[in-house]
């Protein structure tokens, strides 16, 4: 064991938030508004909470305004259910959709700068998959802050946290959850800046670590989204749910993969192939460009496969076009300035005059740490793990099932953050204020191994090989053969990572050390994605098996997968909640296992 590595000190708090994005901080503020004396510590891997991935969400926040004469909560529930390919949990769908508008007002009343209509009320726009009257026509259901809605949420939740005196520890990573008698009692944290381990004992712990987009080569995700929360859960012997449900956003900007929001299509942008054909009408005659993301992504990937793509000379990637040239100057300048700015900035082209190259980009993980409707983490027998909560993209309640609708993710952040906060308040009230001791021993050994391993490989190169592998073999189109091969290669990559020496042995702000830890996390998450994708011999939502292109009723369940040793997995399952259907109320038949056509 490396002698320089030891746990230097212990901090105590009521609530520990791991990951300071929108979901984590919304939860923290909920607790502080009712119980201001709570001692809360929030850690973030990034430079500062404001740099979290939440800040990059563009388009909007779905919520049915009770004053809207046309829209109804039941329609939002139906759209979410249908969009999920009938794999969302209906109790979660109902709870979130019902709470949505109240949470919009929560943000507005605390200073979020929503865009307004002429009367001063919140503006609304349409978004893919959101409809009126069970699919009849597009719904104006998304409130937004221009094309920086996520930033509005982040700024508001961070500001409110700051106002209520949360202790932030920036540039810190959670490396090991601590348990005592089946209760989570905190976490071992590595502070990058100081190169120190600390033990944080907490009465309640919230995982809000975000997604795992860096598993794929082209992604809209931030660089720090390396599936750390999922890896932490797997390390603790707990399961992950539906990891195979990975969303690819149809329109990533060629090159960096930056998200070109659905807004471009909702304001009238048209997808065209190399023959200038507006091809979406062949794939989704009714919804066309506004069909759900997985359908549009596969349509684009199919066009490219059929030789209808265009090759970009700078990035050597095939793509299709999004045509924005016919939109008015007012639309360009008021509604989509940031997004069209990306094309100007990163490709040196003018969207008013020129076609814009886009192709599908990894975007979102629908699966994650299994929780109940209150954000309480569950084990493989669906028993609640006391003291442990998960919210945001790292968690799966499941609101999105196997495919998420645009504008539903940041809605999930703020609602689940609030629900978990409510639950934690009750938990803090009912549990004694003493702190159970727990040691924690895995993490120091793990970092010691990183510092002492020998070999000539490079962490960055192994990561790139993994990302290419996952994109090609466990991406938009999947087959038995491709996934099986990927699993074998992942084992080789993990072996190589274990035999890679660090160039510098310093502990302070040693990014290579942290990247080694992140690579281990990415490999673990890749492995469970691949194994679950292999296991599910059907197609459902974003999970598309070319060798099994149809959805099958025998797979009407959530995958649970745990992995204590790398590559050795254990499967379980969780039933899909169909309470709306089972209750047999008005419109219950809409919530049956229905066909998903747009």
């Amino acid at each position: 064991m490396n002698k320089r590595l030891r746990i230097d000190s212990t901090l105590e708090c009521d609530l520990l938030i791991i990951g300071s994005g929108g979901a984590g901080l919304r939860c923290a503020v909920e607790v502080l508004e009712s119980r201001p004396q709570s001692r809360i510590i929030a850690i973030t891997k990034g430079l500062h909470p404001q740099k979290s991935h939440t800040s990059t969400a563009q388009g909007g926040l779905a919520a049915v305004d009770p004053k809207d004469p046309a829209d109804k909560i039941i329609y939002h529930m139906f759209d979410t259910w249908k969009g999920s390919d009938c794999t969302a949990d209906q109790n979660v769908v109902r709870k979130i959709c019902q709470a949505a508008w109240e949470q919009i007002l929560w943000l507005e009343n605390r200073g979020m700068h929503f865009s307004r209509d002429q009367t001063g009320k919140l503006s609304k726009r349409t978004f893919g998959g959101h409809t009126l009257n069970f699919g009849e026509s597009s719904a104006y259901r998304a409130v937004f802050e221009a094309d920086r809605t996520g930033k509005g949420i982040m700024d508001t939740c961070w500001g409110e946290s700051l106002k209520r005196n949360i202790s932030f520890i920036n540039q810190a990573i959670a490396v090991e959850l601590l348990f005592k008698d089946d209760q989570c009692v905190g976490c071992i944290v590595f502070k990058q800046k100081e190169g120190e381990f600390i033990r944080i004992l907490s009465r309640a712990t919230v995982l809000a670590t975000g997604g795992s987009g860096q598993v794929y080569k082209v992604t809209t995700n931030c660089r720090q989204n390396t599936g750390d929360g999922l890896a932490l859960i797997l390390q603790a012997g707990l399961p992950v749910m539906d990891p195979e449900a990975v969303q690819f956003h149809p329109t990533g900007i060629v090159g960096p993969g930056i998200l070109a929001s659905e807004t471009l299509r909702s304001v009238g942008g048209i997808l065209r192939n190399k023959d200038m054909d507006a091809f979406m009408e062949h794939y989704a005659p009714k919804m066309k460009e506004l069909a759900p993301r997985d359908l549009v992504s596969r349509a684009i990937a199919s066009e490219i496969r059929n030789g209808k793509g265009i090759l970009n000379p700078d990035h050597n990637v095939e793509h299709i076009w999004i045509d924005l040239r016919h939109l008015s100057d007012a639309v360009h300048e008021k509604q989509i300035p940031e997004v069209t700015g990306f094309f100007r900035k990163y490709l040196n082209l003018d969207p008013k005059e020129e076609l814009c190259p886009v192709h599908p980009s990894n975007h979102y993980q629908m699966g994650g740490i299994p929780t109940n409707v209150f954000g309480e983490v569950q084990d493989s027998t669906q028993k609640t793990v006391f003291g442990l909560y998960a919210v945001g993209e790292c968690a799966s309640a499941s609101f999105h099932g196997f495919n998420r609708l645009g504008t539903n993710s940041i809605l999930e952040l703020i609602t689940m953050g609030k629900f978990a906060g409510d639950r934690i308040l009750a938990y803090l009230k009912d549990t004694p204020e003493k702190f159970p001791e727990a040691e924690g021993d895995i993490s120091v050994a793990r970092f010691s191994r990183y510092l002492e391993s020998r070999g000539g490989d490079n962490i960055g190169q192994i990561r790139d090989e993994m990302r290419t592998l996952m994109t090609e073999s466990v991406g938009i189109f999947r087959t038995d053969e491709g996934i099986s091969k990927a699993i074998d290669v992942l084992k080789i990559l993990r072996h190589r990572a274990d035999h890679t020496a660090l160039s510098a042995k310093s502990l302070r702000m040693n990014q290579e050390l942290v990247q080694h830890w992140e690579l281990d996390n990415l490999l673990a998450v890749s492995m469970v994605i691949a194994q679950a994708a292999l296991y599910r011999r059907e197609s459902r939502g974003a999970h598309f098996r070319e060798d099994f292109p149809e959805r099958k009723d025998e797979f009407n369940y959530h995958t649970l997968i745990s992995m204590e040793q790398f590559g050795t997995v254990e499967f379980g399952s969780r039933d899909i909640d169909m309470s709306i259907y089972n209750e047999g109320g008005q419109f219950y038949d809409k919530f049956d296992v229905i066909e998903r056509k747009y």
Partner: protein, 247 residues
């Protein structure tokens, strides 16, 4: 369609990077030479150095598309976001293929290009970037109405991402001035009709470390990656023209 790789222009780029090792308290300039294609970004160049030449060079980024303000640094003296600078534009703008890269001088350097943003943010925290005392909505379950015309007056100031490029470019002393971005965060809440608290707000803005420290060089507006006219808002504050529309 043609499947072979079409030609794209390749440049040889020299990066002279200011490095700092906290363990030995040593600072030096290291030169890296690398091949780069036309629309590679500077974050891609730094990653390429890590992957191919030197994994120890420390830098930091997050969203890599100008939304979070993590990868701010100085390139040939100009504070900017490394994720937004394309190789071809850099060559055109600076008229050279040699670039001197250094960390922002807004807080102590932790290692190489990584600055202690927690310390830099202390100045933003001081202006209270939230609503101190909210106006109650007209009725329970209502939003506070704000017309587009009213929002338009300050909406650009809300776009600030706290990348601290303006603070690095500002000619006023960092000891005494909270900085252009902190001022912007403060001004937003003075202009926001939902903020009831006046005294604290004005004390911060017109206090010892407030807008009186600004020399009107307009450097902030010149470098802002979000193209916010920061100086315009500070000028409005100096003239006292940031009261609410209705009052």
């Amino acid at each position: 369609m043609s499947r072979e790789n079409p030609q794209t222009q390749v440049f040889m780029i020299n990066l002279k990077i200011r490095r700092f090792d906290p363990d030995e308290n040593r600072s030096w300039i290291q030169k890296y030479t690398l091949e780069a294609s036309r629309i590679m970004r500077f974050v891609d160049l730094l990653r390429k150095i890590n992957d191919e030449q030197d994994p120890t060079l420390a830098w930091v980024s997050s969203c890599e598309h100008g939304q979070c303000g993590t990868c701010s640094m100085k390139v040939n003296g100009k504070p900017l976001l490394a994720c937004e600078l394309l190789v071809e534009n850099a060559i055109y703008y600076f008229r050279t293929d040699t670039f001197y890269i250094e960390p922002l001088n807004v807080a102590p350097v932790i290692r190489d290009l990584i600055v202690d943003f927690t310390k830099a943010y202390d100045r933003v925290d001081q202006v209270k970037p939230y609503i101190i005392k909210p106006v109650l909505p007209r009725s329970e379950g209502d939003e506070f109405p704000i017309t587009p015309q009213e929002l338009e007056r300050y909406v650009n100031a809300t776009r600030c991402i706290n990348c601290f490029c303006c603070a690095a470019a500002c000619i006023s002393s960092h000891e005494t001035f909270l900085g252009p971005n902190a001022m912007l965060n403060s001004i937003v809440r003075v202009m926001d009709p939902r903020e009831q608290e006046k005294e604290q707000r004005l004390k911060i803005l017109y206090g010892y470390q407030g807008v009186c420290r600004c020399h009107s060089s307009r450097a902030c507006s010149f470098v802002c990656p979000k193209e916010i006219d920061v100086a315009h808002f500070i000028a409005l504050a100096k003239e006292g023209r940031i009261t609410k529309l209705k009052s």
